[in-house]
Amino acid sequence: MSGVAGSKPETLVIVPAYNEAASIDAVLDELRPHAAAFDVVVVDDGSSDDTRVRVLRRGARVLSLPANMGNGVAVQTGLKYALRRGYAFAAQFDADGQHLAKELLKILAISRDGTCDVVVGSRFLAGESFRPPPARLAAIRLFSRLLRLLSGVTVRDCTSGLRAFNRRAIELLALDYPDHFPDADVLLVLALAGCRIREVPVTMRARVAGRSKTNLTRSVYYPFRVSLGMLMALLRTRG
């Protein structure tokens, strides 16, 4: 899935996917009508189902990690690919079908206008009744406050997976990206490096198929892991 022949798009959309065979077709269908605006690469994070085969059958580009390495490694692989291929912009788009192509185009348009380095699609600003589970909501609020405290940047939906990056941000994240739960710590790394971050309202829908990978262990580990990641990002900058 790529742009018009002879004119290579300057934007790469990265779709990290782990066992998303049930939804990946719908996601690629969602993106296909906009093939002239951006290239798409699916990063298969060592799926045990036929995610990779489905992507290949549709003629889309796929980068297959030999083992399940975590969402952060998958996204960073896409960013490294974008850097090597000389893309000026990159965006992250979930493989579970929650993200809408029209919202992706919206954040890409803002990214291209040059007023910011990173655009985050926010479910909280859309004026809709986005109600994550209480534990998740508490974690989002905690990270958002930590981010504001440590960097002065306010991002309400700091765990949103719909993000767009310009070349500067791509270069930074290709060098340093958290492994497992890359959320607010990614934004902190960017903010501390002086990147301009803008949050814009977007709507999302429920996942097309499959189940969320969140479980009790992850729910307990997640806030500690991200908070530690944020603290370390700050100390590295100061050091």
Binding site: L56, V62, L63, S64, L65, M69, Q76, D179
Partner: protein, 130 residues
């Protein structure tokens, strides 16, 4: 420390050093890790020779340990924890290297897939069928 115990520790330390050297000779262990272990066991042997009973009692008293032999256990635990931290660092370094290699493999495989796709969809799926 009693002479017999000191001798036992020195013999054990020499035995471990011998095992490590044999592992390095057979390329089962790398030199930097071998240096770490040899230094550790050599230090243990030297401590066994130099640490007199009065010295251990004095050290235990300074540390607030009532039963002096407990000092050995404390020192042993500290050394084991230090070793664990050292290997956690080594493991993290290796993970970072593996992560970079895995990403490179994925990107290069993607390039191969792109080349196959440019030849046609049948070629693109050839790798999956094998």
């Amino acid at each position: 420390m009693q002479a017999r115990l000191a001798l036992l520790i020195v013999v054990l330390a020499l035995g471990f050093i011998g095992v490590i050297l044999a592992a390095v000779r057979r390329r089962k262990m790398t030199e930097p890790i071998a240096v770490f272990w040899i230094a550790l066991f050599a230090g243990l042997g030297v401590f066994a020779i130099l640490a007199t009973r009065r010295f251990i009692d004095r050290l235990a008293e300074l540390a607030g340990i009532v039963y002096a032999p407990s000092l050995y256990f404390l020192l042993g635990i500290v050394v084991v924890l230090g070793v664990l931290v050292y290997f956690s660092v080594q493991l993290s370094v290796l993970l970072r290297i593996v992560r970079g290699l895995v990403q490179d493999v994925a990107i290069l495989n993607g390039e191969v897939d792109s080349l196959r796709q440019s030849r046609g969809p049948r070629d693109a799926l050839r790798g999956e069928e094998q």
